[in-house]
């Protein structure tokens, strides 16, 4: 039985797909985190985000997060799907879904996965504003 689903795609992410993958008859709880593109950062209006990645390494790092979550927490399955390319306000850059017998572990693993993804996975976003653009996190 495959316990991890890892995806990096320029297609639209699908919440139901992630749910269907992690859902299991032995599981009483499923925690899901859905990232969404916000309309502002530090009071500046965002028009779109452009996500790029170092694809083979990003996939390896996402897989590491999924595998580590399975080791660290009493969970059953985990899906981590990330989008690349241009995303508009309200679009979904990332979905993480975790199933487990009991809910506490699912919540913990879900937070662990998104926190770690934001630190280690080689994906970058450029924020586009009405009058300019900026690479997020890159400047001192």
């Amino acid at each position: 039985m495959k316990k991890t689903s890892v995806l990096l795609t320029s297609n639209k992410l699908n919440i139901q797909d992630c749910y269907d993958f992690v859902q299991d008859a032995s599981c009483g709880g499923i925690a899901v985190f859905i990232g969404a593109v916000r309309n502002s950062t530090e009071n500046k209006t965002v028009t779109l985000l452009d996500f790029s990645s170092y694809e083979p390494m990003a996939l390896k790092e996402i897989q590491k997060i999924a595998d580590t979550a399975l080791e660290k927490f009493s969970i059953t399955k985990i899906a981590i799907h990330h989008a690349v390319g241009e995303l508009k306000i309200g679009d979904i850059p990332v979905i993480i879904a975790v199933s487990s017998a009991h809910r506490k572990a699912a919540f913990e693993a879900c937070e662990y996965a998104i926190d770690t993804l934001k630190k280690t996975v080689p994906i970058w976003k450029k924020e586009h504003f009405e009058n300019g653009e900026v690479w997020v996190n890159s400047h001192p």
């Binding site: 790029s52 850059p93 990332v94 993804l117 280690t120 080689p122 970058w124 690479w135 890159s138 001192p140």
Partner: protein, 80 residues
């Protein structure tokens, strides 16, 4: 010896390239490579520190490069 260096995110913009072939001495460490790159491309000083991956894995400063390595310049990530 030759290695390939890939630039991502802001570093590709700063350097103006996605990829270069670089000639380095044998036994060059990651630390030395960072120093050399920043000397060659002084615009790299304008960003927060960057990490280095060798063959798709994060590399420590003391790792020594081998011929044919694919090195990636990883500026602060911002996925999610």
């Amino acid at each position: 010896m030759e290695i390939q260096v890939l630039f991502f995110g802001i570093t590709a913009d700063l350097v103006g390239k996605n990829s270069i072939i670089l000639l380095v001495e044998k036994k060059t460490t990651i630390k030395q490579l960072k120093y050399d790159l920043t000397k060659e491309y002084s615009s790299l000083k304008n960003i927060n520190d960057f990490a280095i991956a060798v063959n798709e894995d994060y590399a420590e400063d003391n790792l020594m490069l081998k011929k044919g390595d694919i090195v990636a310049i990883i500026p602060p990530v911002s996925g999610g």
